[in-house]
């Protein structure tokens, strides 16, 4: 491949190859300060023209790599950075077998981790990123990696993808941490945010999970807390996991231990201030 970028994120490493210069240049800038993987990369991502001529003519980026989805739609070259991010997610979702993968945001304080999971739009990503700017260590907003052997959470602090309205919440951050604004993507307007220096410097440190939250965002919701039983938490987390089925028994063991040992709460909120107040309250008791 003409342009190559290697990236270490927590315990996972990627080799990203591209036929075009621009996506790799954007990745380099977005992930400035991240370590370079030593030795083997866990996953290969390829950004290549869907058809030979589409490299030059209305260039369109097909997302390929070690693991592929047969019917993944290509993206225009202007969204090449998003294609790279989606390519890395795809490798994780389909190929990661070292950890139980939970579609969740996680943050840490004093070696103890808070995990937030929920449907797309529930606000876990935004909340994770906000807490990461307010005294917590940001561990990741896309995937939480649950260790199959010891039950700890490993950080996976990739760039946060801020979508649509949530972009405005991060106006104060150092502009050097922000990627280009990508418009007209399948998920609307997107801008990537590099996690702060602490999150990057400590990406090798796992943490012990102590609290699971299922946040739900809605403009007319009353702030409420509801206890979630282990069985319900288990079912919801199997749905939030991309590799639970593939891991077989080891995934089942890890997940039952996880929900059996931790308090689980569902929280409703109408704005981030409410959410933060609820989280502080629950964290003090956890």
């Amino acid at each position: 491949m003409n342009h190559v970028f290697r990236l270490q994120v927590g315990p996972v490493s990627f080799r990203i190859g591209s036929q075009w210069r621009r996506p790799v240049a954007q990745l380099r800038r977005l992930y400035e300060g991240y370590p370079e993987p030593e030795g083997v990369c866990d996953f290969t991502v390829r950004l290549e023209a869907e058809r030979v001529w589409r490299r030059w003519l209305r260039p369109s980026v097909a997302i390929r790599g070690d693991y592929v989805l047969p019917d993944a739609a290509p993206l225009p070259l202007a969204q090449g950075l998003l294609a790279a991010e989606m390519g890395m997610n795809l490798q994780m979702a389909l190929g990661q077998k070292r950890f139980l993968l939970l579609h969740a945001a996680s943050v840490e304080r004093d070696g103890r981790a808070l995990l937030m999971t929920g449907h797309s739009g529930a606000g876990k990503s935004t909340l994770g990123a906000l807490l990461g700017e307010r005294g917590w260590r940001f561990m990741g907003d896309e995937f939480a990696l649950l260790d199959l052997a010891d039950g700890r959470l490993h950080p996976f602090p990739r760039a946060v993808s801020l979508k649509n309205e949530s972009l405005g919440l991060f106006d104060g951050v150092d502009p050097a941490r922000l990627g280009p604004v990508l418009t007209g993507t399948p998920k609307g307007r997107i801008r990537h945010l590099r996690p702060n220096g602490e999150a990057v410097a400590r990406m090798g440190e796992p943490a012990t999970p102590v609290l699971i939250l299922f946040p739900r965002f809605g403009r007319d919701l009353e702030p409420t807390v509801r206890e979630v039983g282990a069985a319900e938490a288990f079912m919801r987390l199997t749905q939030a996991s991309t590799n639970y089925v593939a891991l077989g028994e080891s995934g089942f063991d890890a997940l039952t231990r996880f929900v059996g040992a931790l308090p689980c709460r569902a929280i409703d909120y109408a704005d981030t201030a409410q959410a933060q107040a609820l989280i502080d309250e629950l964290w003090a008791k956890a």
Partner: protein, 357 residues
């Protein structure tokens, strides 16, 4: 990495792992060829850099989870079909795993492939549909085509477990020129402990070779040839009767050319030990190769073998398919093998007129 040779070398000789410079490319090739689990098992116990070891360990665990799931799927089919009282013969990966064969170690197993006698097909189909399997394709041309000309039912998928089953009644499409003796193959089956069956050792090789060289476009060929290497080693070791039996079976099923090619290429790529005096070889070659010198030359690759070899190795260090022309050639050949020219023309005409999904 320009082709898959470094992967083949390492599978053949794991001791070379210390010299590997570019593990990332090697792993990309192994994954693209569905050989990551097999490679990981092959390299087990060697002193390797920690990140490499972690990656291989995950591949081994993945292979083990896949093995358990494949055997469970076989058990589900066994339960669904047991009341019929017809023998169910496991094929390919599931068979290797169920029989505890070396070829099953770390092997990725996709669909469940079973073989039943053709007259049992309607009952088997009904029993599977009643037990939760559903049709994958809803297209009436495809459905009819499968039923009339193929060696298997249209694929079925289980509605809860999301796993596919291919129900075969023969090992090659009915339109293919070789006509394997399916009654003999089914009669010679070997019982497993749980009431399921596998093919006999020689027929297992014949099936693997037929699948690789007499059907399909050689996709995943490097893995299928690795199966053949492992099977030949295990079956031939300590059984002097194996090579003659393989020869006899290959001839009986009309598949001497495919089996002979499989043996030659496995020997050349994976250093499979072969008893050349008794190994399967086409009749035309036997008559020429009667002097000791000519028998010695049997292991040499035929001219056409070189083309197959290029196709098998056509994968670069990014996991990309290389040699598009050779690939296209084998793709065209796969259709040519499958049906007589007139029928092929009609088939392509119908397919071309259908809207692409």
């Amino acid at each position: 990495m320009r082709d898959a040779r470094p992967l083949v070398r390492l599978l053949r000789d794991p001791a070379g792992a210390g010299q590997v410079k570019d593990w990332t490319s090697l792993v990309a090739v192994a994954r693209a060829e569905s050989l990551a689990g097999s490679l990981a098992c092959r390299l087990e116990g060697l002193e390797l850099p920690a990140p490499v070891e972690a990656l291989l360990e995950a591949a081994r665990r993945d292979g083990e989870a896949g093995r358990v799931q494949a055997l469970w799927e076989a058990e589900m089919a066994r339960r669904a079909l047991a009341p019929l009282g017809v023998p169910i013969i496991l094929l390919k990966g599931t068979a290797y795993a169920a029989a505890g064969l070396e070829a099953g170690r770390g092997r990725s197993i996709g669909d469940l492939d079973i073989l039943v006698a053709r007259p049992a097909l309607p009952d088997v189909e009904r029993a599977l549909l009643a037990a939760g399997w559903e049709w994958v394709k809803e297209d009436s041309y495809d459905d009819q085509y499968y039923r009339r000309w193929m060696h298997e039912l249209p694929p079925l998928i289980h509605r809860e477990r999301d796993r596919m089953i291919d129900v075969h009644h023969a090992i090659l499409p009915l339109t293919a020129r070789p006509k394997p003796d399916m009654a003999a193959m089914i009669a010679d089956r070997v019982a497993l402990a749980d009431g399921l069956f596998t093919l006999s050792p020689p027929d297992m090789i014949v099936h693997a070779a037929a699948h690789l060289f007499a059907d399909g476009d050689m996709a995943g060929g490097l893995r299928n040839l690795w199966d053949i290497d492992r099977l030949l080693r295990e079956f031939a070791e300590g059984d002097p009767g194996f090579w003659p039996a393989l020869n006899e079976r290959a001839a009986r099923h009309g598949l001497l050319p495919a089996v002979g090619r499989a043996v030659r290429l496995a020997h050349h790529l994976y250093a499979t030990p072969v008893n050349w005096c008794q190994a399967p070889i086409s009749k035309s070659l036997i008559s020429e190769a009667t002097t000791p010198a000519k028998i010695g030359a049997r292991h040499q690759l035929a001219a056409a073998d070189l083309l197959y070899r290029r196709r098998l190795l056509a994968r670069d260090g990014w996991g990309r398919a290389r040699r598009p022309l050779i690939r296209l050639g084998f793709y065209v050949r796969s259709h040519w093998l499958r049906m007589p020219p007139l029928m092929l023309a009609k088939h392509l005409w119908v397919k071309a007129r259908k809207p692409r999904r």
